[in-house]
C-alpha cells in the first residue's frame, strides 16, 4: 500500500543478522521483538529481494502439494459432508431435529451464527482499519485474514438460513415484491441483520478479490512459463491388449500450463501491471478500505441489535453493540492465530513474512479486546444492580448461578482471564502457548453467545421455563460448519496466493527508490516479473 518502509540501516542490520545464522535469539526471537520504540523493526526477514518474495509465495501454490495437506483436506471434507448431510436432514425433516421445542427457540443455530460472524470480523479490521492506520505489519496477514472472513461469513449465513425452517421461503428475508403484498418488517433488527451481513460479505469479498488481482496475474504469467508437461486424461489403466488406435482416440492431453493459466487468467481480469492499472488499484484499495472500515463496527452492532432491541431482560442493554464489536475482533484475531501459527510452521519461508513481531502485535490486540469484553461483562452486572430493575438483576443472577452457570464461568475464564497472560513477553512469543490460548478464546467466545442466547430459557412466563439441550443433529451441524470452513480454507491455501505479494514488496526497504538495493535488485535480470516489480517500486 504505502511506501513507508523501515529505517534502512536498522532494517538491514536486523535482516542481515537473521541471514547470518542467528535463527532464534532469546531476546529478539527472530530479530523483530524489541521494546525500543525508536527502533523500527523490519517487516520482511531473510535478506530477501523482490524476486525471492515472488518465488516463495507463488511456490506455495505452484510446488507439489505438501504431504500434510491431503489428510487435512480429507478430514475437513468428511466433516463438511457430515455438516451438509445434517442440513439436508434438517430440511427434509424439519427444525424439530434440533432441540428447539423449548423457550430457547434460537438454539445453537443463532449461537453458531453470531460466533462465525464474530470470527469474520478480523479480516476486515486487519485489511481496512489497520490499512487506514498505516500499520504496515498487516501486509503479511491481511490476505489470509480476509479469506478467513469470507469463509466464516459463509458458515455464519448458513445458520439463519436453515433456522427459518422452511428454507424454500428464505427469500422472505429479503424485501422482494411478492404476491402476498407484504414486506418484511423494516422495524425488525432481524431484517437489518440481513442487510448488515449481506453488505459485509459483499464488501469483504470485493476487497479480498480486488486485492488479489495483481497476484493472480503473477501466477498466470508464471503458469505459462512454468508448466511444459501435459496432463493426460484417458484409459491409461486399460489392459494391455487395448488397440493403439482406441487408446489414441480416447486420450486427451491438455498442456498443464493451459489449465493453470486459464484459471488464473480469468481471475486476473486482464491485469497487465501497467502504471495506470496500479494507479486505479491503489485508489480502489483505499476507497474500499474506507467503505469497509465502518462495516467492521456496524455489522456486529446490528447483530447485537437482534438481542438488544428486544425487551428481554439481560438482552435489552445499550452496552451490547460496543461489547459485541470488541468480542468479534477478539474472536476474529484468535481464529487468525489458530490458522496462522500452523500455516507458518508448515509453509517454508512464511516465517520471514509473518514475523514474531506480527504475532506479538496480534496477542496485544487480543489482550486489549479481551479486557474490553471482560469490562462489559462486569459492567452488565453493575448496571443490573445499579438500575434497580429486579427482572434485569434476576436475569443476570440466573446467568451466573442458574442452570447454565457452567457455561457462564467457562466464558469468564476463557474470555476474561486467559487473554491476560499476554502481558508477559514469554507468553506473547511462545507459539505453542499462543496457539493454545487462541483455541481457548475461540471456545470462550462460543460460550459467550451460548450464555446470551440461553437467557431465553428463563422468560417472563415462569411456567414455560425450560432447559435447552442440543441434539446430535445440533452438534454435528456445528462440527460440520467447521469442516466447511476448513475445506474452503485449505483450498485457498493450495490454489490462491496466501500472502499479498505486491503489498509485502511495498513494505520492504527496497521499495524506496533511494535504497541502495533498489537498483541492484534484479529488475532487469530477465525475470518475467520485472514489470510488476518496476511499477511497484516506481511510486
Amino acid at each position: 500500500m504505502s511506501s513507508i518502509h523501515p529505517d534502512q540501516a536498522e532494517a538491514l542490520g536486523l535482516v542481515g543478522k537473521r541471514g547470518q545464522g542467528v535463527e532464534r535469539d532469546p531476546e529478539t526471537i527472530d530479530g523483530t521483538i524489541t521494546d525500543d520504540p525508536t527502533r523500527r523493526v523490519p517487516l520482511v526477514l531473510g535478506n530477501r529481494d523482490f524476486h525471492s518474495v515472488t518465488e516463495t509465495i507463488c511456490g506455495w501454490v505452484e510446488n507439489k502439494t505438501p504431504n500434510w495437506w491431503f489428510p487435512a483436506f480429507a478430514v475437513s471434507n468428511v466433516l463438511a459432508i457430515v455438516g451438509t448431510v445434517m442440513i439436508l436432514f434438517l430440511i427434509v425433516t424439519g427444525v424439530g431435529v434440533w432441540g428447539l421445542n423449548n423457550p430457547v427457540s434460537w438454539g445453537w443455530a443463532i449461537v453458531n451464527f453470531v460466533w462465525w460472524v464474530g470470527i469474520g470480523h478480523a479480516g476486515t479490521l486487519i485489511s481496512a482499519i489497520l490499512c487506514l492506520l498505516k500499520q504496515n505489519w498487516r501486509t503479511s496477514i491481511n490476505r489470509f485474514a480476509e479469506a478467513m472472513t469470507i469463509f466464516a461469513v459463509i458458515c455464519a449465513g448458513t445458520f439463519p438460513g436453515i433456522h427459518v425452517g422452511r428454507v424454500w421461503f428464505a427469500w422472505f428475508l429479503f424485501p422482494i415484491p411478492n404476491y402476498n403484498w407484504i414486506w418484511p418488517n423494516f422495524r425488525s433488527p432481524l431484517l437489518w441483520d440481513v442487510f448488515a451481513v449481506g453488505t459485509y460479505f459483499t464488501v469483504s469479498l470485493l476487497f479480498w478479490y480486488m486485492g488479489m488481482i495483481p497476484d493472480l496475474a503473477t501466477l498466470r504469467d508464471r503458469a505459462i512459463a512454468r508448466f511444459n508437461q501435459k496432463v493426460t486424461f484417458g484409459p491409461m489403466w486399460a489392459p494391455h491388449p487395448l488397440p493403439a488406435f482406441v487408446k489414441k482416440l480416447t486420450t486427451v492431453s491438455i498442456p498443464a500450463n493451459k489449465i493453470a493459466s486459464y484459471f488464473y487468467g480469468v481471475l486476473a481480469l486482464g491485469w497487465r501491471f501497467s502504471s495506470r492499472h496500479w494507479w486505479n488499484y491503489e485508489k480502489a484499495y483505499i476507497l474500499l478500505a474506507g467503505v469497509a472500515a465502518p462495516l467492521v463496527l456496524s455489522v456486529h452492532s446490528v447483530v447485537s441489535f437482534d438481542f438488544a432491541v428486544s425487551i428481554i431482560p439481560g438482552w435489552h442493554t445499550t452496552i451490547f453493540p460496543p461489547y459485541f464489536v470488541a468480542g468479534a475482533i477478539f474472536s476474529g484475531f484468535a481464529m487468525v492465530l489458530t490458522l496462522l501459527i500452523p500455516a507458518r510452521a508448515l509453509y517454508p519461508g512464511m516465517k520471514d513474512f509473518v514475523t514474531a513481531r506480527t504475532i506479538e502485535n496480534m496477542c496485544k490486540i487480543i489482550t486489549l479486546t479481551g479486557s474490553m469484553v471482560g469490562f462489559a461483562y462486569i459492567m452488565e452486572f453493575f448496571i443490573a444492580w445499579y438500575g434497580a430493575n429486579p427482572y434485569e438483576a434476576e436475569a443476570f443472577m440466573i446467568r451466573a448461578f442458574g442452570p447454565y452457570w457452567w457455561a457462564y464461568w467457562i466464558m469468564m475464564f476463557c474470555n476474561v482471564v486467559s487473554p491476560q497472560v499476554f502481558w508477559f513477553k514469554w507468553c506473547r512469543t511462545n507459539l505453542v502457548f499462543i496457539f493454545i490460548i487462541s483455541i481457548i478464546v475461540n471456545i470462550g467466545m462460543w460460550f459467550e453467545r451460548l450464555v446470551i442466547v440461553t437467557t431465553l430459557s428463563a422468560d417472563f412466563v415462569t411456567s414455560s421455563w425450560g432447559y435447552y439441550s442440543p441434539t446430535w443433529v445440533d452438534i454435528l451441524t456445528f462440527v460440520g460448519s467447521i469442516g466447511i470452513f476448513m475445506t474452503l480454507f485449505l483450498l485457498f491455501c493450495r490454489f490462491l496466493p496466501m500472502l499479498a505479494i505486491s503489498e509485502v514488496k511495498n513494505v520492504m526497504p527496497q521499495a524506496d527508490p533511494h535504497h541502495p538495493m533498489y537498483h541492484k535488485d534484479g529488475h532487469h535480470n530477465g525475470d518475467q516479473h520485472k514489470a510488476s516489480d518496476r511499477s511497484e517500486g516506481g511510486h
Binding site: Y179, N180, W181, A217, R220, D221, I224, S261, G265
Partner: protein, 238 residues
C-alpha cells in the same frame, strides 16, 4: 504480461454481462407473469360430474344464491348443496312435483337429473369438484364477509352468467389484503333500492364499476358500520 487468451475474448465480458442481464430480466418477467395464482388459478373451470348451470338457475330463473348455498350467512363455510336441495324442484314425481309443469317434459329424461335422483335414492353424494381453494393455514369466513356487506360478486364475479362454474380471482394473499386495506371499494349497502340483495350480482357489479359513487357510499358504510378489516397475521392464519 503474457498472452493467455486470444483477442476475441475481449468481447466475452460484455457479451456475458448482456446475456446474463437479458436472462435475468427474462427470469424476473417469467416469475412475475407465470409464478402467480393469477396465472395458475384464475380460470380454473373443471368438468363437474353433473353439468349444473349457474347461468340458468341464478341468471335466467333468478334464484337467490342463498337458496342452495343456504348457510352462507350463518357459517364460515358456504355449503355446497346436497342432492336433497336439487330434489326440492327436480323430484321427477309426476307433474304435481313441479312448480312449473311445463318443465316436466324437458327434465323427465335429462340424464344428469336421472343421476341426481339416483344419488338421492342411494344416499351416495355427488362428488363435486372443488374450485375455490385456499391453503389449510389460511381461514376464510363467508358469514363475516357477507354480513359486513361484501357481495358474492366481489370474490366470485358474475356467477349468474357462468355456464360452468369458474374461478375469476386469484385468491392470493395480496388480493385479500387489497380489500382489507381499502374495504370502501367493495362494501355495498343492501338497503340501497338499486341493490336490495347482497346476492344481486348484476346490480353490485354496476355499483362497484361506478367508482366515485362507490367510494362515496363505501366510505360512509365503513364509518357507519365501524368496519376494520384486520391485517394482522392471526386474522386468517390461526
Amino acid at each position: 504480461m503474457s498472452i493467455v487468451f486470444p483477442r476475441w475474448t475481449n468481447a466475452v465480458p460484455g457479451v456475458l454481462v448482456a446475456t446474463l442481464g437479458v436472462l435475468g430480466l427474462g427470469v424476473v418477467w417469467a416469475t412475475w407473469y407465470y409464478a402467480t395464482p393469477d396465472f395458475w388459478q384464475v380460470g380454473y373451470e373443471p368438468d363437474q360430474p353433473v353439468a349444473f348451470s349457474h347461468q340458468i338457475h341464478a341468471g335466467q330463473l333468478g334464484i337467490d344464491c342463498r337458496h342452495c348455498h343456504s348457510n352462507v350467512e350463518q357459517s364460515g363455510h358456504s355449503n355446497i348443496p346436497d342432492t336433497a336441495t336439487c330434489m326440492s324442484c327436480h323430484t321427477g314425481a309426476g307433474e304435481a312435483g313441479y312448480l312449473n309443469a311445463s318443465l316436466w317434459a324437458v327434465h323427465r329424461g335429462n340424464s344428469d337429473l336421472v343421476r341426481i335422483r339416483a344419488a338421492y335414492a342411494s344416499g351416495e353424494p355427488i362428488r363435486w369438484r372443488r374450485i375455490h381453494k385456499i391453503p389449510d393455514y389460511a381461514h376464510f369466513n363467508h358469514a363475516i364477509h357477507v354480513n359486513a356487506g361484501i357481495s358474492c360478486y366481489s370474490c366470485h364475479g358474475r356467477m349468474d352468467q357462468q355456464e360452468i362454474a369458474r374461478q375469476v380471482h386469484s385468491l392470493s394473499m395480496g388480493w385479500c389484503l387489497d380489500c382489507h386495506r381499502s374495504p370502501e371499494e367493495h362494501v355495498v349497502d343492501v338497503n340501497d333500492p338499486n341493490i336490495r340483495r347482497i346476492t344481486n350480482l348484476a346490480a353490485v357489479e354496476k355499483q362497484l364499476a361506478n367508482r366515485p359513487a362507490q367510494l362515496a357510499t363505501g366510505v360512509e358504510l365503513v364509518i357507519q358500520n365501524k368496519l376494520q378489516p384486520p391485517q394482522h397475521c392471526g386474522a386468517c392464519h390461526y
